[in-house]
Symmetry: C2
């Protein structure tokens, strides 16, 4: 069956996503959705565009659907929030058949089910490029607290949840070897193709009153950490190869790269970066054992790794 009309496309979406949900007073199919809301809602939007954020040569359709929603969920995780629903804009180029869209939507729907997340609405359009625009919203943890960026003080401990440089290793391997990289570097490829949004970690961190702030790492630690600290602060990082996923170390060794460079410049990590007073870090680790301390906030601007200035800038989606 060709997806040659809006009605057929909408019917396909309805096969993957239920229309009713307790958080929706009115679901898909009207001019707007009507959401039942707490008094504060956090909201984020994300674009995923072919050739910029993914390639079809090694992203399966399921991976594209999964990744678009996972990246958007990661923004909620970084607020310590719990997702409530999302909307989907699909940019549909000619020549992709029903089978492709069925698989893309199934990858997205599987992740949505994991979080009991309704697809509340969206828009469909023909387009010269394949792309997805997602908008997601959520509620605060039970204590009502959202974790914004910053709020750090000199001396604060910095930590991450999730792997640094693993998705970058996956990207390099997939760019070089295509899908064969998936069996050779399974963790690295999965970090790029099917990132896991750290919603539970974000909620646990929001419950720790001592955590100052949180953000998700999408452009690499070197680019994102200054955004987290804000103006006037720097950081002294202390990251050791032993803190990294073994595949980052092995991939770096095989390819003559520095694992720490991968960790610092790699994009698409979707790891969470946070800060807490140094004396409170033990308490935070008791609640979230998976976190890794990575250094200290400093009065001295700039980033340093083991005392040496970091010059790499991370990923800017605007650089060609």
């Amino acid at each position: 069956m060709a997806l040659d009309s809006e009605e057929r496309f909408l019917a396909l979406i309805d096969r993957h996503f239920p229309t009713a949900h307790p958080d929706l007073a009115l679901g898909r199919g009207d001019d707007c959705a009507v959401l039942l809301c707490p008094d504060k809602v956090c909201l984020s939007t994300d674009l995923l565009i072919e050739g910029v954020h993914f390639r079809r040569s090694y992203f399966r359709p399921e991976d594209i659907g999964h990744k678009a929603l996972a990246a958007n969920l990661s923004d909620l995780a970084a607020m310590g929030a719990s997702p409530m629903g999302f909307a989907l804009e699909l940019m549909v180029p000619d020549g992709l058949g029903q089978r492709f869209w069925d698989r893309l939507l199934s990858g997205m729907a599987a992740l949505a089910r994991e979080f009991d997340l309704p697809l509340a609405g969206g828009d469909l359009s023909r387009s010269p490029v394949l792309g997805l625009g997602l908008t997601i919203w959520g509620r605060a943890a039970p204590n009502g607290r959202f974790l914004a960026r910053g709020g750090c003080c000199p001396g604060d401990a910095l930590f991450v949840c999730g792997d640094l440089g693993l998705a970058k290793s996956g990207l390099l391997a997939l760019e070089r070897s295509g899908r064969r990289a998936v069996s050779r570097w399974p963790a690295a490829a999965a970090a790029l193709l099917r990132p896991k949004p750290l919603i539970a970690h974000g909620l646990a961190l929001a419950a720790c009153e001592t955590v100052r702030g949180l953000m998700d790492l999408s452009d690499g630690l070197a680019a994102d950490l200054p955004r987290f600290l804000g103006p006037g602060l720097g950081a002294d990082l202390d990251i050791k190869p032993a803190d990294l996923n073994q595949e980052v170390i092995n991939f770096a060794r095989k390819n003559g790269l520095s694992p720490l460079d991968l960790a610092i410049s790699g994009g698409d990590d979707y790891a969470l970066l946070g800060a807490a007073p140094a004396e409170g870090l033990r308490l935070v680790r008791a609640r979230v054992p998976e976190l890794t301390p990575i250094g200290r906030v400093s009065r001295k601007p700039g980033l340093r790794l083991a005392g040496k200035p970091i010059r790499t800038r991370g990923f800017d989606h605007f650089k060609t």
Copy 2:
């Protein structure tokens, strides 16, 4: 100045859109925005893509910015809702300079100011095509009522607010003559390039308890009316040339077209289509004098104009 980094682009956006607003607990620049919400919020998303929804040959940058927000606002108008804020995804192709983006954002910001609407967040990405994805949200009229589609009964009066076929006349004139059409057919060109979202009309209609439902006409009456009525109902339309904007009549006459065909098949109207019990229509007109009755809901499926079946289907964004 070239907009060659995300930071510069964000600085340009900050020049047009304030970051703080009473409805925002946290504005742009974090992983999510945090919105202060009533217990029900309505939300809609819209795509506007070059070559599909607009051409740069006759859309000035200001028009593109205005139209993207106006189309999104129209979805709220169609719920009888009042806008609270919006988020913007920008797909940025190479080669458009700062002047272009400055003008596009100024067109959008002027309309946002008109409704005291904060830009709460968004996403930026390089893209092979120029495109905008907007998400907008709003609150109900003071009586707490949202106007969904449908809910019609046989015999109900159908009405529209706004002009039918005017934007289609503008589209045909602009496609043929480019910007010269703007002085020749000013109302028609403006209807396409700079539609006016009918927020005040929507709110006034939501305040009339007798109004059954409302939707906005974006794909033409012939395509949208069946979506409004839902399955099992039809309509007997009674639209006269005298109900149409004089430019629709003049344009049709000049070009050997039927003004009623333009009115019924034309897309991009952003007019509001509603229904009310026939005996209640007088009351609705007392509150919203600009509305035009266009016919009756019928038990007999299908659409008829002055008794004759309508065969035209309106606009499907998926047909090439």
